[in-house]
């Protein structure tokens, strides 16, 4: 018994010695490449190579952004859930967003890993990668404007600064145009439904809340929590003018309306009676270029009289504007 214990310790000690040698914080990159130090959006200092050729994206919105910037050839891998655009599904995967496989990431030999800290990805993942010496840049887009900044940062890191500026300019222009249209109008009060049962809506600090404001709307619920749970009676008291659902809920809007009208508490809501129920794409929660489409779509539906002559149900975009395929309702993107 004792002897085997000693033998085991004897086997373990050399391993222990080698572990001690692995404590160097930043490993020397196997290629000699010049790096620059940047600060990412969470305040971390990151050493990023000047030439970035292989990027791994850990979040669907980042993947979407990369495609929009025309950088998909540099995308070495993404998560299982990156499905916008469809081509992203064919890239090598590294796992889920909350718990990606660190080994898989390392196996892809990335020059840069992009993560959306505080939303899709966990800070722990970012830290773990950093500890391994992998260059990880974390974005932290909490507002629409923040998203524009993130796009700019990503584009400059990836050596596509020009495309980035151009993309942001285009998107910014669309938002500004929208603002002009909606200038004098009061904000529409909506109930944004994240989940029906239990009824969960959004807090004021969420990304969606910001996107709503850009669409000329405001949530009737003021809450500091991100995902407050609500009782239906509270909704009745708050009297939202519109109810907004996202994406995958049921087929046609007509079917959804009749379903809502048959439900006991819901049918008592004024918004339901008036048919003021709106379904928009799930891109509304994704800090990526497709968001602008969703905002425009929502604005059209909530302020139909601000857009005379435009068909609210078919949103057309000049194909050159955005290089990705978005704008279909009910597209399910797990985010």
């Amino acid at each position: 018994m004792f002897i085997s214990a000693v033998a085991a310790i004897g086997a373990v000690l050399p391993m222990a010695a080698t572990l001690s040698a692995s404590t160097a914080r930043v490993h020397k990159a196997s290629q000699i490449v010049t790096v620059k130090q940047v600060t990412d959006e969470t305040g971390r200092a990151v050493l990023v190579p000047f030439k970035v050729n292989r990027i791994v994206s850990l979040a669907p919105n980042i993947t979407e952004t990369i495609y929009a910037l025309g950088l998909e050839s540099k995308l070495a891998g993404d998560t299982d859930y990156c499905d916008t655009p469809a081509a992203a599904k064919l890239k090598p995967h590294v796992g889920s967003m909350l718990n990606p496989s660190l080994e898989a990431i390392v196996a892809l030999h990335p020059d840069l890993v992009l993560a959306a800290a505080n939303s899709a990805n966990r800070r722990e993942t970012v830290d773990a990668l950093a500890r391994l010496g992998v260059a990880v840049y974390a974005t932290d887009s909490r507002t629409v404007r923040g998203m524009f900044e993130s796009i700019t940062h990503i584009s400059s890191l990836a050596g596509a600064a020009q495309q980035g500026t151009a993309l942001v300019a285009r998107l910014q222009a669309r938002i500004d145009a929208l603002q002009t249209r909606l200038a004098e109008r009061p904000l529409v009060h909506v109930l944004f439904v994240v989940w029906e049962d239990p009824l969960i809506t959004i807090g004021q600090n969420t990304f969606i809340a910001d996107a709503l404001r850009w669409s000329g709307a405001e949530s009737v619920v003021i809450a500091k929590q991100d995902w407050p749970q609500l009782a239906l009676e509270e909704v009745v008291r708050l009297e939202p003018e519109y109810i907004v659902f996202t994406g995958s809920h049921s087929g046609s809007s007509a079917a959804q309306m009749s379903d809502l009208r048959s439900r006991p508490m819901w049918k008592g809501l004024r918004a339901v009676e008036l048919g003021h129920v709106v379904n928009i794409s799930e891109e509304i929660d994704r800090p990526a270029p497709g968001l602008i489409d969703a905002i425009e779509e929502l604005a059209h539906k909530l302020h139909p009289d601000a857009f005379p002559g435009e068909n609210t149900s078919a949103m057309n975009h000049a194909p050159a504007d955005i290089r990705i395929d978005v704008g279909e309702e009910g597209k399910s993107c797990a985010h």
């Binding site: 033998a7 391993m15 914080r25 796992g95 909350l98 496989s101 660190l102 966990r122 995902w227 749970q229």
Partner: protein, 329 residues
């Protein structure tokens, strides 16, 4: 010979993983690393073997051994074969500590582990004071006190998880299911591991010292007292040591279930009920179980990683059923 099995499992675990690296490459990495020739190893091999897999395996050994020894200890202390390390609420206390730390001081290295351990310690103390009867620990009272504490703490946790906002809290889900990939709070992995193993050795050693007493206590507390066992002191020592072991494991890796409950039983079936044998074999058995579970968790559905706790539950349930049927005999 259990050691041999552990060694084999470690080797397998080292080999398996998403990153393509062969056994010979691993061996080469290990040897070159051991002799200081770090520059000769491709940096990625180094990363994978020493940065990712070995720490995880080491942590797995530690957690598995700690949980199993604690489980065996609690089974004796509470006179209940269904006792596992979490029955006295230690893991809930640790989880509460972790949540509070995530909310108030996220991203400070090491704070989660520290807060979890403090939570565990506070629970240990409270349950001790609640679980006393006539000045010493009474099995039935202790069990009740522990269950009450566990429920109360779980309720607090649920309350906090719904009312506090936070992206940080998403990490809690993993923590609650068991996560061996938590990075160490200090940059020096070895220091961290040595510290943990040190605590483990002390606590496990203390339990081991009471094993002959435990054998007697298991045949009856009164009888043990007549034979000269200081029952009161033994119970206290076992309580504290087993709780410390549990707190240690949970602070570091969240709550991984079934191991603390089942490994002692399996070892009993193989090696008998003498605690002088049971404690060491449970430690090794637990280490094997966790390393195996973790290896499966990170390779079965690669590249997605399952939480370790899920694997132990999946494997644990059938084992439990099998054990139950054997007992009926």
């Amino acid at each position: 010979m259990l050691f041999a099995l552990l060694f084999v499992v470690v080797v397998i675990s080292l080999r398996m993983g998403t990153y393509p690296i062969s056994v010979s490459e691993i061996v080469m990495t290990l040897f070159r690393g051991a002799f200081g020739h770090r520059d000769e190893i491709p940096s990625e091999f180094w990363l994978v073997v020493f940065g990712l897999r070995l720490p995880r395996i080491a942590l797995g050994i530690l957690v598995g051994a700690a949980l199993s020894v604690a489980g065996a200890g609690f089974q004796a202390l509470l006179r209940n074969p269904l006792a596992d390390p979490y029955v006295l609420g230690v893991s809930s206390g640790a989880a509460l500590g972790a949540i509070l730390s995530l909310t108030f001081a996220p991203h400070v290295p090491g704070v989660i582990q520290l807060a979890a351990f403090i939570g565990a310690a506070a629970t240990i103390a409270s349950v001790y004071f609640l679980g006393r009867r006539g000045g010493q620990l009474d099995s039935a009272t202790l069990l009740l006190a522990g269950i009450v504490a566990a429920s109360f703490l779980s309720a607090m946790i649920m309350f906090l998880m719904t009312t506090l906002s936070g992206h940080e809290l998403r990490g809690m889900a993993f923590w609650l299911m068991g996560d061996l990939s938590t990075p160490p709070p200090t940059p020096n992995v070895l220091e961290w591991l040595l510290f943990l193993f040190g605590v483990f050795a002390v606590a496990a050693g203390m339990i081991y010292a009471t094993t002959s007493d435990l054998n007697l206590i298991l045949t009856g507390e009164e009888e043990a007292r007549h034979l000269g066992v200081n029952v009161r002191r033994v119970k206290l020592v076992v309580y504290i040591s087993a709780s410390v072991l549990t707190g240690l494991a949970v602070s570091v890796s969240g709550s991984i279930g079934y191991v603390g409950l089942l490994v002692p039983h399996v070892m009993r079936m193989i090696f008998g009920t003498d605690y002088r044998l049971l404690i060491p074999t449970s430690a090794i058995g637990g280490a094997i179980a966790i390393v195996l579970a973790d290896t499966l968790a990170r390779t079965v559905v690669a590249p997605t990683e399952l939480p370790v706790g899920a694997m132990t539950a999946l494997a644990g349930a059938p084992v439990f059923i099998y054990l139950m049927r054997r007992r009926v005999r």
